[in-house]
Amino acid sequence: MEYDYIIRNIVLVFHYFFLVFTVLIVGSYVILAVFSSRETIEYLKKNSFVNYKDLLTSDVAPSISIIAPAYNESLNIVENVRSLLSTHYVNYDVIIVNDGSKDDSLEKLIKAYDLERIEYLINQRVPTKPLRAGVFKSKNPAFEKLIVVDKENGGKADALNCGINISESRYLACIDVDCLLLEDSLQRMVKPFLEYTDRKVIASGGVIRIANSCKIEDGKLLEVNYPDKWLERCQILEYLRSFLLGRMAWARLNGLLVISGAFGLFDREIAIKVGGYDTKTVGEDMEIIVRMRRYMEEEKLPYKVAYIPDPLCWTEAPDNRKIFISQRNRWTRGTIEVLKIHKKIRWNPNYGVLGMLSYPYWMIFERYAPIVEVLGMIYFIFLIIYQPLSWSFILGLFLLVYLFSLLFSFVAIFTEEFTYHQYKRKGIGFKLILTVFLEPFILHPLVLYAAMRGNYDYYFNKKKKWGVMVRKGLSKS
C-alpha cells in the first residue's frame, strides 16, 4: 500500500514536471513568434526606403576584413575566393587563412591569383599557431584586396584568430569559405554598426539559407530551388524556423547568444579585447558572442548584437544522415561547453537580459530540451506499461504535440512568404506543406539522436572534436 503511494507520488512529480516544461516551451515559442513578427515588421519598414548606393562610393565607409578559414578546400577554393572578391563594398579586403591544409589549396590559389610571398608584420594580439609558408599577396592589381595566409593547422577558431591579427580593418566579417555571399551583404550587415548612437553594436549576424539544389554560376546565386532530398528539405524548414522566428525575436530582446559561424560581422576592437575566438571549444561562434556580451556587461557599456533577416548568405547543408548527425553532435557539444565556460552568467542579475533570460532560455530549452524529451518518452512508456492509460488520451496528446509543431512551422513559412518569398516556383508550396507534415518524423528524430550522442560524447568521449564535413561544392549544385 505504502509502496503504491510512493510510486503514485513519484509519477505525479514527473507528471507536473513535464506539464510545466511543456507549457513553458510552448509559451516561449508563442512569445518568440510574437516578438519576431514585430521585429520583422519593424525591420522591413526601416529598410523599405534605404539606399545603399552612397555606401559604395563613400570615402568614410568603414573598413571591413572578410576572414575565411580554409582547410582542405582545394576542390572549390578558387571559385569561392572569386565569389568573395566580387562583393560590392568600397573599403574591404579578403583574408584567406589556409589552416595547414594537406591538399593543394595554396598551390591552386598561388596559380589562380598570381600570388607572391611578402614580408608582413603581424601584430600578434591573439595567440595563434605559427605561420607555415607565410603571407601572400597578388602581383595582379585586380586582386589587390586579397591576402592569403598559410599557417600550421590549429582549427577553425585558431585560423580566424590569425585573420584577426592580420586584419587592420574596423570590422571583421568571419565567414565559412564555401559560403556564398550576396553582393550587397556587407553593406547590409554593416548598417546597424553605423546607425546606433546610443550604444555600440558589437556584432551582427545574418540569416543563413540553404543553397543545395540552387543554381549558382561564377559565385552568383541565379535561381533558388527546393531540393529533392527530404533531409535537405527538412533542414530548409528548420532554418526558416530558427532564423526567421527564433533569432529575430532574440534580436528584438537584445538577447542573441549566437551568430552563425557561417557569416557574422564583428567589431574588431572588442573581439581583440576579449581575446578572439576560443580555440578550446567546438562552439567557438557562440562562445565569442557570449564573451563579447559578457565583457560589455562587465564594463557597463551599452551595446547591441544586431541581426539582419535578409537572405544574404547561402551555404551547403549536409545531404546525408551521417554528416548531419556529426554536425548536430558538434553543435550540442559546443552549446554544453559554452554554457559551462560562462556559468557565472546564469541567473545573474548583474548581466541583465543575458543572465536572466538568454542564458537560462538556452540552458533549459536548448541544452536540456533533448534530455527532457527522452525522459518524457521513457516516462510515457512507463505510464503505458504501469498505468491504465486511455489510448484515446495517448493519441490525443500525440496529435496535440504534432499539430503544435506543424503550426509553428507554418508560422515560419508564412513569415517567409510575407517577407522574402524566396521559393517562388509553382509547386514548391505543396512540397513545403508536405515537408511541414513529414519533418517531425524525418528530421526531428535525427536531431534528437545527435543531441543525445553529443551529450554522451561530451561526457564520455572527450577526444572527439570537429568531425568531418564533406562538401560537394555549391558550384556543383
Binding site: F49, L121, S392, F393, L403, F410, E417, G429
Partner: protein
C-alpha cells in the same frame, strides 16, 4: 489517475489546431498564388507606366501647353492613382526614370508629377501618424525637388525616429545645397555615422560655397555636428579652419580629438605637433596611434628624441610606427639601437624594418 478532463481539453485543442492548420494550408496556397499573380501584374503595370511616361515626355507639340496625347496619358495616370498598389508602382517608376533622364525631361517629369496629383499624395504622407509613411513622403518630395514644403519638413529635423529626420536632412541638402546645411544650427539629436555617409554623399555633388561659415559648426554644442563638419572640412580641403582644428585637439570628446588629428594629418599642419607632444602623456592610446600616423607624414630629425622615447612603448602599433619613423628621419640613430632586446615584439619589428619593408 483520471484523465477524463485532460482528454476533453486535449481533444478540443486537437480539433482547434487541426482546423487552423487546414485553413492555413488553403491560405498558403491562395497566398502563394496571389503573390505570383501580383508580381506578374506589377511587372505588366510597371512596363505600361514606363511606356506612358516615355510617350508623355516625347509627345510635346510645339506651341501647345499640353498635346492631346499628353492629356490622355494624364487621365490614365489619374485613373491608376486610386489604387494604392498602382500608386506605389507609378511613384517608383517616376523615381526610377527620374534618375535616368536629364535636363528638360526632368522638368517635364516633375511637372507631370504635380499635374497627376502625386504631389498631393506625397504631401499628405507628411501628416501620417506612421513614421515610415512620413519618411517615404519626404523621400518622394526630395526626389521631385518640391521646395514649397520646406517649412513643414524643417519641423521634422529633430524627429524622434532617425529614419524621418534622416530623410528631412537629406531633403535640405539635396534641394538647397550648402544653404540647406543650416539645419545643423537647430539640430539637437545625434547624426549617426550612417546619416553622415548619406549626407556627405549629397554634399559631394555641390561646388563648395566659399561664404559658408564652418567655424560655427566646428564649435557647435552638438558633438555629432562637429564630427560631420570635420568630414566636410576634409572633403573640401578647408584649410582656413586650421586654428579651430588646433582648438579641437582639446575637445572633451575623444572621438572628435581623434578625428581632428586625422584631418590635421591630411593637411599636414605642423603647428599641431608641438601642441600634442606637450600633452602626449595625457591622451588616450587611440589618439597616440593617430598622432604617430601624423608623425609619419611630418616628422623631422628634431623629433628623433621623442621617437626614441617610444620605441619601447607597450602598444605594438606605437612601437612599430616610432621605429619606422625613426628609421626614416635619422637612420644613424636607428642603426645605433639595440637589435636584440628582451621584448620579442621589438625584435620582430626591427627584423621587419631591417629587410627594408615598411619605409
Amino acid at each position: 489517475m483520471q484523465f477524463t478532463l485532460f482528454e476533453a481539453v486535449i481533444w478540443s485543442l486537437v480539433i482547434v489546431l487541426a482546423i487552423i492548420i487546414v485553413i492555413l494550408i488553403f491560405y498558403l496556397k491562395i497566398l502563394r498564388r496571389n503573390i505570383r499573380v501580383k508580381e506578374k501584374n506589377n511587372i505588366k503595370y510597371r512596363e505600361k507606366i514606363e511606356k506612358l511616361l516615355i510617350e508623355y515626355i516625347y509627345a510635346e507639340e510645339e506651341g501647345e501647353l499640353l498635346s492631346k496625347k499628353q492629356k490622355a496619358i494624364i487621365k490614365q495616370f489619374k485613373k491608376g492613382l486610386v489604387s494604392k498598389r498602382k500608386r506605389i508602382i507609378i511613384t517608383e517608376t517616376f523615381l526610377q526614370l527620374d534618375q535616368q533622364v536629364a535636363g528638360h525631361m526632368i522638368e517635364q517629369m516633375n511637372s507631370l508629377y504635380k499635374k497627376i496629383g502625386l504631389l498631393n499624395y506625397a504631401i499628405k504622407k507628411l501628416r501620417s501618424k506612421q513614421w515610415h509613411i512620413v519618411a517615404i513622403g519626404i523621400k518622394d518630395l526630395r526626389h521631385f525637388k518640391v521646395k514649397r514644403v520646406r517649412s513643414s519638413i524643417s519641423k521634422l529635423i529633430n524627429h524622434h525616429r532617425e529614419e524621418v529626420r534622416r530623410e528631412a536632412h537629406l531633403y535640405f541638402i539635396e534641394l538647397f545645397g550648402f544653404e540647406g546645411l543650416n539645419f545643423l544650427d537647430n539640430l539637437k539629436v545625434p547624426l549617426s555615422e550612417w546619416d553622415q555617409i548619406l549626407l556627405l554623399g549629397e554634399v559631394e555633388n555641390f561646388e563648395y560655397d566659399e561664404t559658408l561659415d564652418l567655424k560655427k559648426w566646428l564649435e557647435s554644442n552638438n558633438d555629432y555636428v562637429v564630427l560631420f563638419v570635420l568630414n566636410i572640412v576634409k572633403l573640401f580641403n578647408r584649410l582656413e579652419t586650421k586654428d579651430t582644428l588646433i582648438d579641437l585637439l582639446q575637445h572633451k570628446n575623444a572621438e572628435i580629438r581623434i578625428k581632428t588629428i586625422d584631418i590635421i594629418t591630411h593637411f599636414e599642419i605642423l603647428e599641431a605637433k608641438e601642441f600634442i607632444i606637450q600633452r602626449f602623456s595625457e591622451i588616450s592610446d587611440k589618439e597616440k596611434v593617430a598622432f604617430f600616423k601624423y608623425l609619419e607624414k611630418v616628422a623631422e630629425i628634431e623629433d628623433a628624441m621623442f621617437l626614441i622615447e617610444h620605441v619601447n612603448n607597450n602598444n605594438f602599433e606605437i612601437k612599430h610606427r616610432a621605429l619606422k619613423i625613426l628609421k626614416r628621419v635619422d637612420v644613424n640613430l636607428y642603426n645605433k639601437l639595440e637589435k636584440n632586446s628582451e621584448d620579442a615584439e621589438y625584435n620582430r619589428i626591427i627584423d621587419y624594418l631591417d629587410v627594408s619593408y615598411g619605409v
